[in-house]
Amino acid sequence: MQNKRAHTLVEAVNVITDGMTILIGGFGGPGVPEILIDGVCELGVKNLTIVSNNAGTDKSGVARLMDVGCVSKLICTFPWAKESYVFKELYDNGKISLEIVPQGTLAERIRTAGAGLGGFLTPTGVGTDLAEGKKALTIDGKDYILELPLRADIALIKAHKADLRGNLVYHKSARNFNPIMVMAANHSIIEVSEEVPIGNLDPENIITPGVFVDSYFVTGQYKVGSGGK
């Protein structure tokens, strides 16, 4: 059976190269793969396009990735939070570009990519600035805009437990975007707190089947900022 476990953080993330588009799970703090992000920071890659709900908190998570200069574009829903000052400074200095997407649309665009579909019609954003340049359709008298799939090279995912097949379960509101993002990338990398034997996860309760998982890194006692060792 395929061994999906990455034995070091470097092994987990070194498929990432300059210019890639990366989905990063999380909403606020919960579900952000902080340790994988730490690994990407160490890699020193450039010009990443990051897709994530938030623009990071202080200098952690997505903010750290931007702070060390890896990111040239951010696709998110809520960039202007007080705690996202790293993003604000880069943006004000013209060093990062931004695409704002409504949250439900962002989730659905990612799912659409994962499901092998070509787009969807949503009522969200009709008549607003965010509909500009998008195809409009009226179905049964109701107005919709066509939104396109958002596929990525890489997904960085935080989960609670993985078994040896890569089956995943999450923890409370840390689930958020993670189970969708894991479906929508060419290569998914999972940060998990715990690895469990096959059979330990009830097949009724598995949230992400292992078929969506390319590799996982078990964090154990790893501390963010320790340099990927």
Binding site: F27, A107, T122, D129, R175
Partner: protein
Amino acid sequence: MLLSRDQIAACVAKDLQENWLVNLGIGMPTLIPEFIPKERNVMFHSENGVVGMGPPPLPGEEDLDLISAGKGLITLIPGGAYVNHTDSFAIARGGRLDCAVLGAFQVAANGDLCNWRLPHQKSGSVGGAMDIAAGAKRVYVMMTHTTREGDAKIIAERTYPLTAGGVVSKIYTDMGVISVEANELILEGIAPGITPEEVQSATGAHLNIEKVQEISLNL
């Protein structure tokens, strides 16, 4: 006298009905749950995948993996459930929210909601507002009646970037409660000590004041 934030929250809470599923925007709307009578079953949805949001945790019972859309620590009520982001927005967009209570920069007389970007800003933080406003069965707005500068936020036609068109059905402010009807704004409730004329002069659209009643603060 202008209503306090808690008093506005209590006014909204009074109108949230038994068995409703409600989404609360960040800021002032998060004050609402504590004013819901204990015996009334109102369930709260947080768009980050929490169906059945409960009050903040007791000291020592915090879980950093359980937050609201506003990023505050919360709990899950018994019988609540966790869902992923697409399922959470299927709830919102799919018409399962009986009500969303949102903040606003502007509300127009036709129910247009503007709450995601100010006109002078290059960009805004949309979050889930557009999806929730487009999908909820009822959109209630909770806000101060005017800007800090005293400008009207309730106006005849919006001048700010749109969040969702024609969706707001009720507006709760520090001056009163306004119902958005097909052809007019109806002032239903008014804060004690304020006159309908004062509310009208702080409002940029015509108000029908015929049926206004003073808000009881013993809510």
